[in-house]
């Protein structure tokens, strides 16, 4: 084997390393649809969700936790099917896992102090979206994250605003729309090469 052949083998092998971004798009769309549906249901049927203090807590904790189990299962299944994990996949996985833990922590604290965690969660989500968008070099997600951050700061200065509608608007433009554009990108553009 000549030196040129060896270099060619190395280049070919590295070129075959691809980060498939479709699963991230799916995750964003899934959570976007879940949170928007939950917020709208809560907004139109408060008598059901707020039947008691515990009913709304169960509603806003149990469904997202079930969603976390589902997305964890989906991501493990997709990872197994692809057969390898790139460094970029690992970074994205760690960032969103930390967000999941931060969500649990924020919800826990808000239950103890009886405050609404929507703005804090949206702010965290905005930061994670900006980070993800910059890392995978997908402009729509970065813009969605920046928009969500600006919108969240705006809500801090308007305390009278309905936080369920804040959730719907923030998640729609920060998560659902960028997620859909990532999910429906042509598959060739969805694979980051090294």
């Amino acid at each position: 084997m000549t030196k040129e052949e060896q270099l060619s083998i190395i280049n070919d092998a590295i070129k075959q390393t691809k980060t498939n971004l479709k699963p991230l798009g799916y995750n964003l769309v899934f959570w976007g649809v879940v949170i928007i549906s939950m917020s709208l249901f809560h907004y139109f049927f408060p008598q059901i969700v707020q039947y008691s203090y515990y009913s709304s807590v169960i509603y806003w904790v149990l469904i997202p936790v079930l969603g976390m189990f589902y997305t964890t299962y989906y991501n493990i299944k997709t990872g197994t099917k692809i057969g390898y994990e790139t460094q970029l996949d690992r970074v994205i996985r760690i960032i969103w896992s930390v967000f999941g833990l931060a969500w649990i922590f924020t919800v826990g604290i808000s239950l103890i102090y009886n405050v609404n965690p929507v703005q804090d969660i949206l702010f965290l989500l905005g930061i994670v979206l900006v980070m993800s968008g910059l890392i995978i070099k997908f402009r729509n997600i970065t813009i969605g994250g920046i928009g969500l951050l600006i919108f969240t700061v705006y809500t801090y200065y308007n305390p009278g605003i309905n936080l369920l509608l804040v959730n719907v608007i923030g998640i729609s433009f920060g998560m659902l729309v960028p997620g859909l554009s990532l999910y429906f990108q042509k598959s060739d553009n969805l694979q980051l090469r090294y």
């Binding site: 092998a13 590295i14 057969g83």
Partner: protein, 92 residues
């Protein structure tokens, strides 16, 4: 550079495997089979040699009752590949 390592990386399948493992965290046998375009038997032998040379880790476990094997590069493997690659580039 260590002659043994150089000899190990001289084989195209082993070189392709190490090059691929350099850019991923972990990889399954099935994925390596696709990447190297090799047969199961041949790939198993080459992976065993890389493992014996301390260049890769082999982790076996059960997933839904099925035996699964993950491969990853070791620190020694990473260092050896970098030396090997720099050596190749210096000849260019």
């Amino acid at each position: 550079m260590n002659k043994e390592i150089e000899k190990l990386l001289f084989n195209p399948i082993r070189l392709k495997t190490i090059s691929f493992l350099m850019s991923v965290e972990t990889c399954t046998f099935k994925a390596l089979l696709e990447i190297t375009d090799s047969t199961k038997g041949n790939l198993s032998i080459q992976l065993k040699k890389l493992n014996e040379g301390g260049l890769i880790n082999i982790e076996k476990y059960f997933q839904k009752s099925y035996p699964t094997t993950d491969y990853s590069i070791t620190n020694k493997g990473r260092k050896s590949f970098e030396e090997f690659y720099n050596q190749l580039m210096s000849f260019k």
